[in-house]
């Protein structure tokens, strides 16, 4: 009897201990906490990571941060994250993830912490963030807090060159072809597109497809349409027309972002299709001679629809993430929020980008004077009737996204053996890549 009573007592003690235990382990008073923070350096240089690390250190003086700034391209970076996770997560607490299809295995492995309940306890977050930018995953959980700004598919153009040759911003494909003809005749590269990486070329095809049916990408991803339906076929034909007209820079299929930027900034190229993240830096570097326009309508009857819809927004599951095995999840979530905020602060203060998802004034940032085209785009954003993330970020798998980008790169070679039909057939096939 005594044994049974003691056993019951022991069980009761254990259960009550469990009940009163804090829901989330947090560091004890005075405990020195170490936190591994990882994000990509590479293309943006060291300034941004340095700024973020400095802000984190100021905000969390009791935490010893171990920064892991990975140089190199996106795949190097993503591989490092996956390797750390596969190796048991040692050395990983908070990291920036580029999201899209690449993050799917990370989510499937339950390596990212669902942040919903932790975010509610972060002191300065929900009051300062644009709520629509915090996008839950399909399972309803929030895994990422955005670091990158909101961006849109636009075509940047050199105002000085357009003025010099009395060119108007094209509203239709035919007008664009005519603008390209004039520029080419005058020794200016009409369009520079960094097709080497694949995605800028995909953006161009999608940009034209949007002018026929803005919801086409969403429909394709939902299985309600195909790439071989009218919008993408017409978009491919539009690109083909431009390629045949010699509208693109000769080295387009092997042109990278740095080369395209250099050609556009130097005035050798007149138009640069890119995400709106490039708008403010281009305006700054070109003495105010950079402006933007939306993709011209393929069909003249769609001209009035231009600017009402635009592909882009906030990337799914992209931003600061917390490793599910982190020792102090609440603290790590606060660090992730701080990482997101300081990253965006840098974009706002240094890059003069107004496309941030936080209320900078409420957070005490030094708000600069934004470039007029950027402000105009911010104004437009409020009027967009429909938007959907870029096609390469919403493909069903990483292999599908790769095939889409490779096919588009191949299409931009304008090879006689790879025309519109072959390209569209490959796009349809890419949807089957698992």
């Amino acid at each position: 009897m005594l044994r049974k009573s003691l056993a019951a007592l022991l069980v009761l003690v254990l259960l009550s201990a469990l009940a009163v235990a804090p829901a989330f382990a947090e560091p004890a008073e005075g405990e020195k906490v170490t936190m591994n923070v990882m994000f990509q350096g590479g293309a943006t240089g060291a300034d941004r990571p340095d700024f973020v690390m400095q802000k984190l250190t100021e905000r969390f003086p009791d935490i010893e941060f171990i920064p892991n700034i990975v140089m190199g391209d996106e795949s190097n970076y993503a591989t490092k994250i996956r390797t750390l996770i596969a190796a048991g997560g040692e050395g990983l607490d908070v990291w920036w993830d580029r999201g899209g299809t690449w993050v799917m295995p990370v989510l499937a492995a339950k390596a990212a912490l669902p942040l919903n309940e932790y975010l509610d306890k972060v002191p300065v977050f929900w009051d300062t963030v644009t709520k629509s930018a915090i996008k839950p995953h399909t399972d309803g959980n929030i895994y990422a807090i955005p670091c990158e700004e909101v961006f849109w598919e636009i075509i940047h153009y050199n105002k000085a060159i357009f003025d010099q040759y009395n060119l108007e911003v094209p509203k239709t494909l035919d007008e664009l072809i005519e603008v390209c003809r004039v520029l080419k005749e005058n020794g200016v590269i009409p369009i520079v597109c960094s097709a080497l990486a694949g995605w800028p070329a995909c953006m161009m095809v999608e940009g034209f497809a949007y002018t026929i049916d803005p919801e086409i990408t969403k429909k394709i991803m939902n299985g309600e349409a195909k790439f071989s339906d009218e919008p993408y076929v017409e978009a491919a034909k539009a690109i083909k027309k431009l390629l045949d007209a010699g509208a693109f820079y000769e080295n387009t299929p092997l042109c990278d972002e740095a080369e395209a930027q250099a050609l556009f900034y130097s005035g050798k190229a007149a138009m640069w299709p890119n995400g709106s993240w490039a708008l403010a830096p281009a305006y700054e570097n070109m003495d105010g001679n950079c402006d933007y326009f939306y993709y011209p309508a393929i069909r003249p009857e769609d001209v009035d629809e231009i600017g009402k819809t635009c592909s882009g927004g906030v990337k799914d599951n992209a931003g600061a993430m917390v490793y599910s095995g982190t020792k102090y999840p609440q603290l790590a979530t606060e660090v992730a929020v701080a990482m997101s905020q300081s990253y965006q602060q840098y974009l706002c203060e240094h890059d003069k980008s107004p496309f941030v998802v936080y209320d900078g004034e409420a957070l005490g940032w030094d708000i600069p004077d934004f470039a007029p085209p950027s402000l105009r785009l911010v104004e437009d954003m409020g009027k967009f009737e429909f938007s959907y993330p870029f096609v390469q970020d919403v493909m069903p798998s990483a292999a599908a996204a790769t095939m889409l980008m490779d096919s588009t790169n191949k299409f931009f070679t304008n090879s006689s053996s790879y025309g519109v039909d072959e390209f569209i057939a490959d796009l349809d096939r890419s949807m089957l890549e698992k």
């Binding site: 795949s75 993503a78 591989t79 996956r82 390797t83 996770i85 596969a86 690449w102 295995p105 990370v106 499937a108 492995a109 390596a111 080497l196 820079y249 000769e250 080295n251 299929p253 092997l254 798998s397 990483a398 292999a399 790769t402 490779d406 790169n409 191949k410 299409f411 931009f412 070679t413 090879s415 790879y418 890549e433």
Partner: protein, 294 residues
Amino acid sequence: MKKVLGSKLAITLFCLPGLLLFVIFVLYPLYDVIVYSFQSYDGINPGKFVGLKNYILLWNMPDFWEANVRSLYLCGLTMLVDTVFVSIFALIIVGLKPFFQKAYKIAFLLPFVLSISVISQMWLAIYHPEWGILNSVLEAVGLGQFAQGWLLNPDIAMICIGFVGMWWIFGMQMLLIYTGYRSIPENYFEAAQIDGANYFQSSIKIALPLLTNVIRLSLIMTAVGGLYTFPQVYIMTRGGPGGYTETLMMYMYKQIFSNLRFGLGSAIAFIAILETCVILGTITLLTRRERIQY
């Protein structure tokens, strides 16, 4: 020493550290590659055994075969240039005055001092269609009609990329064969000279047969180098434009790191290893000869 070498235990103990490293860093990863090649694995989540599915998939993938053919083509081309031509070149240099021998050796070895990444970046600039040196030189010497986008032309892009690796390793291969030549006892050539043989005849009849082992080594190095061409492709074209320069290694890299298909990538790796074994076996068989005693 004799006592030590006579003891099997001592020999085993001496070999053990090297053997251990070999097992850890060569055999175990190789075993892992073979295991992964029978799995569907994304690099994070536990792999699922899928039998021969990855190999069957590869069999039906035209891109894989095209990449394989390109790599084998590069393998053959590199062997031809960096062994056959280099051997001829080395034999010519050996006949020059010492000053010129040194000058040529240094000149050809210089590229090898730089990493292949730097070399690739340099050649990327040389080949550039708009501002590349190659087109400028052609224009300057009146051969402007040949100026073109060297890496954009599907017919020559692969050769242009292959040339970068061949150019890079040319000096190293030359030094290898040159050193092999210098190690042949002088009296062989003197005897041939007394018998009335000229330089060409001594090179063909004496030097080349005695250089068989060195040439075999050179063939093996160039064959492997050609088959496993990757950094030049990654830096210069990423397999583009339109996949025209995608080698087997680039294809494997893409499957693993872009498509997250670690299982399929491992199957490609295993096939590449088998191909290497066949190529190296063929080279060894073709260059097999009796042991030469000087």
